[in-house]
C-alpha cells in the first residue's frame, strides 16, 4: 500500500452561505483501495464526493488525483467517474448508448465502443439482449449494473459511488454488495463509496471514514471502527451497543452496580490518550451473558429486564441496571430463555473486546 | 424537482438564455406600457398628438360618467363570464382527470384543437349558426319549432355566449391540471373514512383543486375584460364594452391620450378587482370555511 496516494485531500472547506458543509477535511486514499465515507445525512459525505468529482469547487484546501492538482479542473476532465444515487441513466438512450456514452464523448471509434460495451455487459453479468432496451425496461438491479458499466467503461482512476444501493430492497442490496466487492477485486480500480449504512461500509470497505457535521471523526479499518470507535457517536452509529458511564482512575474503572475482582482494563482496550476522569465503557450486546449462581466473569452487573425482542436469529433483552442505566444484551434465539420481563438477573462480560473511550466530542 | 442551481445573475450561461426574453419583453411590452402611461398626459389637436403635458385627458375621464358606465358593464360581463366558465369547466375537468380513461387523450386533443383555432373564425361560425336565418333556426324549424325561435344574435346573450366559448378552454385546462395533481390516496383515505363520493368530492377534491380554480378565475377575468370581438361581432356593437370603446377612441376619434388613459383605467381596475378577490379569498382561507 505504499507509494503515492491516488487521492490526496488537504483541509478542504466548503460553505453554503452561513452553513459549513465541510470544515477542513483531509484524507488520503491509496491506489486500489475501497474506502467508504459514512455518516448520517447532512454530515458532508456527499458534498465531499461532489468536490472529488468536480461538480462543486471547495472554498479552500487542495485536492489532487494521482499527483495532479484537480481544483479548477471541470468534472468532465477529471479521471473520476460517478455512480449516482438515482443512477442518472439517460432515459432517451438505449442501454448500449448509455454505457458507450463516455467513450462517444472521447471520440472513440464506434466499432471499438461496441466491443468495449459488450465487454462491460459481460463483466456486469447482464444479458446481451438488454443492449437495445431502454433503462426503464430494466429492473432496479439491472439498472444498477448498467450505471456501474457506464461509470467503468472510461477506465477511471477513481470510481465514486453516491449511495447507489440505498433505494434497493434488502435482498437485492445484499446481492449487489457482493457484486461490488467482486468488481472491485477484479478491476483493481479505487472505489470511494458513500453510504449512511455503516454495516454496508464494514462489509465492503478496506477502510472507513466516519463523518459528522462536515468533519472526519475517524478513519480506520472495519475492525477499528467496530471495536475501537473514536467516540460515542461512532460507536452508536452501528447497530445497538452499550455505553456505560464509568469513572477511570489509573487503569481501573468503576461505576454504580459494576463489580469486578480486578477492575483494571488492559491498555489495548483503552482509547489512546484517555486520562483519568469520566469515560464510556463500550460493550457489544453479544458479549454479555447471564450468569448462573456461582458462575464468575471479569465484570458483573445486576439488572432488571424491561423488554424482550425476538430478532430472528437472536433474542434481544433490554434491561436497567440498579443505577438506572439501560443495558442491552443478546442471546442466540434457540437457547432456553433465562428470564421474563420484570425478572432480576446477574450479567457478566469479559475484559476482552470491551473498549474505554471519551464522551462524544462536541461538534 | 431537484437540481435548482444557484447562479449569479451575471453568469454568462444564464444571461445567454435569459436576455432574449428580457430584451423582448422590455422593448415590446414594458416600454410600450410605460409610454402608454406617458401618453395619457399629452394633448391632441386636430387628430394629431402634440407632446405637451396636461391633465386634460384625466379630467375628461373623471368627469364623464359615460366611460364608467361602460366599465361597469364590462366588469359585470367579465365576472359573469368567469362564473359561467368555472361552473361549466369544473365537471369537464373533473371527468378528464378522474374518468374517461380510454378517451382522455382524444378529448384533450379535441379541446386543444378547438382552443387553438382562431377566435375570429369560430365567432364568425357562431354568427352563421345563431342568425335568424341561420343553421340553428333552420334545424329547429325542421323539427317543428316556429321560425326564428333563437333570436339572440346581436344581444348581450350572444356576447356572453361568445366570451364563454372563447375562454372556457383556459378554465378546463387549468382546473384539470390541479385536479390531476391531487394525490389519489387522499381520496381513497376519504372513502375509507366512510365519506360518500359526494362528500369526498366536496370536502377533499374541491378544496385541493382550489389553486387551479383560482388561477383559472384570474386568467379568464383578465382576458374577459379585454374582449372586443364578441361584443362587436355577436353583440352587434349595441352595448359596447371597454375594449371596443378604446378601439373606437383610437380609430375613429384618433384620440391617443384618451385611448391610452382608458386602457390604463381598464387594466388598473381589472388588477384591482383581482387583488380584492384575492384578499377576500385568503381571508376566508385563514378563517376557515364559515
Amino acid at each position: 500500500m505504499a507509494g503515492e496516494p491516488i487521492l490526496e485531500i488537504r483541509d478542504i472547506r466548503k460553505n453554503f452561505g452561513a452553513y459549513q458543509a465541510l470544515k477542513g477535511v483531509s484524507l488520503s486514499v491509496q491506489q486500489g483501495e475501497f474506502i467508504a465515507l459514512v455518516g448520517p445525512s447532512g454530515c458532508g459525505k456527499t458534498t465531499l464526493l461532489k468536490q472529488i468529482a468536480g461538480f462543486e469547487e471547495p472554498d479552500s484546501g487542495s485536492l489532487s488525483i494521482a499527483g495532479q492538482p484537480m481544483l479548477g479542473v471541470p468534472a468532465a476532465a477529471r479521471p473520476t467517474s460517478m455512480v449516482f444515487q438515482k443512477l442518472a441513466l439517460f432515459p432517451h438512450m438505449t442501454v448500449a448508448d448509455n454505457i458507450g456514452f463516455p467513450l462517444k464523448l472521447r471520440k472513440v471509434d464506434p466499432a471499438i465502443i461496441a466491443k468495449r460495451v459488450e465487454a462491460m455487459i459481460e463483466l456486469m453479468q447482464l444479458k446481451r439482449e438488454y443492449l437495445t432496451r431502454y433503462p426503464r425496461q430494466l429492473s432496479g438491479g439491472e439498472q444498477q449494473r448498467v450505471a456501474l458499466a457506464r461509470s467503468m467503461i472510461s477506465e477511471p482512476k477513481l470510481l465514486l459511488l453516491d449511495e447507489p444501493l440505498s433505494a434497493l430492497d434488502v435482498k437485492l442490496k445484499k446481492v449487489l454488495q457482493a457484486e461490488l466487492k467482486r468488481l472491485h477485486r477484479s478491476v483493481g480500480v479505487t472505489f470511494v463509496h458513500v453510504t449512511h449504512d455503516l454495516e454496508e461500509a464494514i462489509m465492503l470497505a478496506d477502510r472507513i471514514c466516519v463523518m459528522r457535521s462536515g468533519e472526519i471523526l475517524q478513519v480506520g479499518g472495519p475492525n477499528d471502527i467496530y471495536y475501537r470507535p473514536a467516540d460515542s457517536f461512532v460507536a452508536g452509529f452501528i447497530g445497538d451497543t452499550n455505553l456505560l458511564a464509568v469513572t477511570v482512575k489509573g487503569n481501573a474503572v468503576s461505576a454504580p452496580g459494576l463489580t469486578a475482582a480486578d477492575p483494571t482494563v488492559p491498555a489495548q482496550y483503552v482509547a489512546p490518550g484517555l486520562g483519568d476522569g469520566p469515560a464510556l465503557l463500550m460493550v457489544r450486546p453479544e458479549l454479555i451473558t447471564p450468569l448462573e449462581s456461582g458462575q464468575v466473569a471479569d465484570f458483573t452487573i445486576d439488572v432488571t429486564i424491561t423488554e424482550i425482542f425476538c430478532k430472528g436469529g437472536t433474542v434481544q433483552f433490554r434491561s436497567n441496571t440498579e443505577g438506572g442505566a439501560p443495558l442491552i444484551f443478546e442471546l442466540p434465539g434457540a437457547s432456553k430463555q433465562p428470564a421474563d420481563i420484570g425478572d432480576k438477573l446477574r450479567l457478566g462480560f469479559p475484559k476482552r473486546d470491551i473498549y474505554l473511550f471519551r464522551e462524544r466530542v462536541a461538534a | 424537482m431537484n437540481g435548482e442551481i444557484d447562479r449569479s445573475w451575471r453568469d454568462p450561461e444564464l444571461l445567454v438564455k435569459a436576455l432574449p426574453s428580457v430584451i423582448l419583453q422590455t422593448a415590446f411590452f414594458l416600454a410600450p406600457l410605460l409610454m402608454t402611461v406617458a401618453l395619457t398626459f399629452q394633448r391632441t389637436k386636430n387628430f394629431q398628438l402634440t407632446w405637451t403635458w396636461s391633465l386634460d385627458t384625466w379630467t375628461d375621464i373623471f368627469t364623464k360618467p359615460h366611460y364608467w358606465t361602460i366599465l361597469g358593464h364590462t366588469l359585470f360581463m367579465a365576472i359573469t363570464c368567469v362564473i359561467l366558465c368555472l361552473v361549466i369547466a369544473f365537471p369537464v375537468a373533473y371527468a378528464l382527470a378522474t374518468r374517461l380513461r380510454a378517451f382522455q387523450d382524444h378529448v384533450k386533443v379535441l379541446i386543444t384543437f378547438a382552443f387553438l383555432t382562431d377566435a375570429t373564425l369560430k365567432t364568425f361560425g357562431w354568427v352563421l349558426f345563431l342568425d335568424k336565418n341561420g343553421a340553428a333556426n333552420y334545424l329547429l324549424q325542421q323539427v317543428g319549432f316556429p321560425p326564428a325561435t333563437i333570436d339572440i344574435l346581436f344581444t348581450d346573450w350572444a356576447t356572453m355566449l361568445g366570451m364563454v366559448y372563447n375562454l372556457l378552454s383556459f378554465a378546463i385546462f387549468t382546473i384539470y391540471l390541479s385536479i390531476d395533481a391531487i394525490d389519489r390516496s387522499l381520496i381513497l383515505a376519504a372513502y375509507d373514512a366512510g365519506a360518500s363520493k359526494f362528500r369526498t368530492f366536496w370536502e377533499v377534491t374541491l378544496p385541493l383543486a382550489r389553486p387551479g380554480i383560482w388561477a383559472a378565475s384570474v386568467l379568464i377575468f383578465l382576458l374577459a375584460v379585454g374582449v372586443f370581438l364578441e361584443p362587436k361581432v355577436l353583440g352587434g356593437g349595441k352595448s359596447p364594452m371597454s375594449a371596443e370603446l378604446i378601439r373606437q377612441t383610437f380609430e375613429t376619434r384618433v384620440n391617443w391620450p384618451l385611448g391610452a388613459a382608458l386602457t390604463l383605467v381598464l387594466m388598473t381596475v381589472a388588477v384591482f378587482v383581482v387583488l380584492l378577490f384575492n384578499r377576500v379569498y385568503s381571508l376566508k382561507r385563514h378563517m376557515g370555511p364559515v
Binding site: 461538480f55 468532465a76 449516482f84 438515482k86 441513466l89 432517451h92 456514452f101 464523448l105 457506464r150 461509470s151 472510461s154 | 437540481g3 435548482e4 442551481i5 450561461e13 438564455k17 435569459a18 432574449p20 426574453s21 419583453q25 415590446f28 411590452f29 416600454a31 402608454t36 361549466i88 365537471p91 369537464v92 371527468a95 374518468r99 378529448v107 379541446i111 386543444t112 384543437f113 383555432t117 382562431d118 377566435a119 375570429t120 373564425l121 369560430k122 364568425f124 361560425g125 357562431w126 352563421l128 341561420g134 343553421a135 366559448y165 372556457l168 365519506a195 360518500s196 384570474v218 383578465l222 382576458l223 379585454g226 374582449v227 370581438l229 375594449a243 378604446i246 378601439r247 383610437f250 386602457t263
Partner: protein, 276 residues
C-alpha cells in the same frame, strides 16, 4: 363503543349514476359546444349557393376554387404562413431558454425575470395590440417605418413567447438535473451536455411549444389586425369579409385555416404517444 357508519345522503348506486351522467354529460356537451361553430363553418364552405344559409342549394367545392383565384386570399395565406413560421421559431427558442432559466436557476432577479417573461400571458390581446400599435407609431415616426409584416411578427412573438415558456417549463420541472451532472461526469462539455442530454430530454416540451406557437400565430386575429398595417392574414381577411357581407368564400377560408391545426395537433399527439 362503535360509531355508526356514516349515512350517505343518497344511496351509493344512485350517487354513482348521477355523477356519471353529470360528468360524461358535461364532457359531451362541451365538446358539442366547442364544435358547433367549427362544423357550421365547414358545412357552409360546401354550399353551392351565394349565401351561407340553409337549406343548401347544393354541395360543391366551387368556393375553394374561388379561394385560390382570389388574390387577396392567396396573399393572406402566404402572409399567415410567413408570420407563423418566423414567430414560431423566435417564440419557441426564446421561450424555451427562458423556461430553463426560470425553473432551473436560483438567482437574484429570478422573480422579476419570471414575472416579466410571463406577463403578456394575462394581458388582453387587444390591449397588447393597442399598446404595441402606439409604440410602433411613435417609433415609426422617429425612425420612419410603417406597421406591416415585421411589426406583426414582433407582436406575435411578444404574445406567444410566454405560452412557449410555460409549456417548456413543465418539461424542465420534471427534468432530473443529475442527468446533466452524469453527462458532465462522463466527460461531456457544456455544449455536449446540451446536445446529447438536455435538449433531447426537453424536446417533447419544446416540440409541443412549437406547435402551440405556430397555431396561436397562424390563427391570431387581434394582434395582426392592430399591427400588420395593410398586410392581411387569413383571419383578418375573414374578418373583413364578415363586415362586408357574407359569402361561402369565408367559411371556405376558415376551413383552410383549420387544416394545419388538425394536422399538427394529431402529429403532436402521435409523437407524445410514441414517447410514452
Amino acid at each position: 363503543m362503535a360509531y355508526p357508519t356514516p349515512t350517505p345522503w343518497m344511496n351509493a348506486k344512485t350517487e354513482a349514476q348521477l355523477a356519471g351522467v353529470l360528468l360524461y354529460g358535461s364532457v359531451a356537451a362541451v365538446l358539442i359546444f366547442f364544435y358547433v361553430p367549427i362544423f357550421t363553418l365547414i358545412a357552409f364552405s360546401f354550399q353551392e349557393g351565394r349565401y351561407p344559409t340553409l337549406p343548401f342549394e347544393g354541395v360543391s367545392l366551387k368556393w375553394y376554387g374561388a379561394l385560390f383565384e382570389n388574390s387577396g386570399a392567396r396573399d393572406a395565406l402566404w402572409n399567415s404562413t410567413i408570420i407563423a413560421v418566423v414567430a414560431t421559431v423566435f417564440a419557441t427558442v426564446i421561450g424555451s431558454a427562458a423556461a430553463i432559466v426560470a425553473v432551473r436557476y436560483k438567482f437574484r432577479f429570478r422573480l422579476p425575470f419570471t414575472g416579466l417573461s410571463a406577463a403578456p400571458l394575462a394581458f388582453p390581446q387587444l390591449l397588447l395590440g393597442i399598446v404595441l400599435l402606439l409604440w410602433f407609431s411613435v417609433l415609426g415616426r422617429a425612425f420612419d417605418f410603417n406597421t406591416g409584416l415585421v411589426t406583426a411578427i414582433i407582436g406575435h412573438v411578444v404574445y406567444i413567447t410566454p405560452f412557449a415558456l410555460v409549456i417548456v417549463a413543465v418539461q424542465v420541472f420534471n427534468f432530473d438535473a443529475t442527468l446533466e451532472d452524469a453527462a458532465r461526469d462522463c466527460g461531456a462539455t457544456t455544449f455536449e451536455v446540451y446536445r446529447y442530454v438536455t435538449l433531447p430530454l426537453l424536446w417533447p416540451g419544446i416540440f409541443s411549444a412549437g406547435i402551440f406557437a405556430f397555431l396561436l400565430s397562424w390563427g391570431n386575429f387581434y394582434l395582426t389586425y392592430s399591427l400588420a398595417g395593410s398586410t392581411r392574414t387569413l383571419p383578418t381577411f375573414v374578418f373583413s369579409g364578415i363586415a362586408t357581407g357574407s359569402s361561402p368564400l369565408y367559411p371556405a377560408i376558415a376551413t383552410v385555416v383549420f387544416i394545419p391545426g388538425i394536422l399538427l395537433v394529431i402529429l403532436a399527439d402521435r409523437m407524445r404517444r410514441k414517447a410514452a
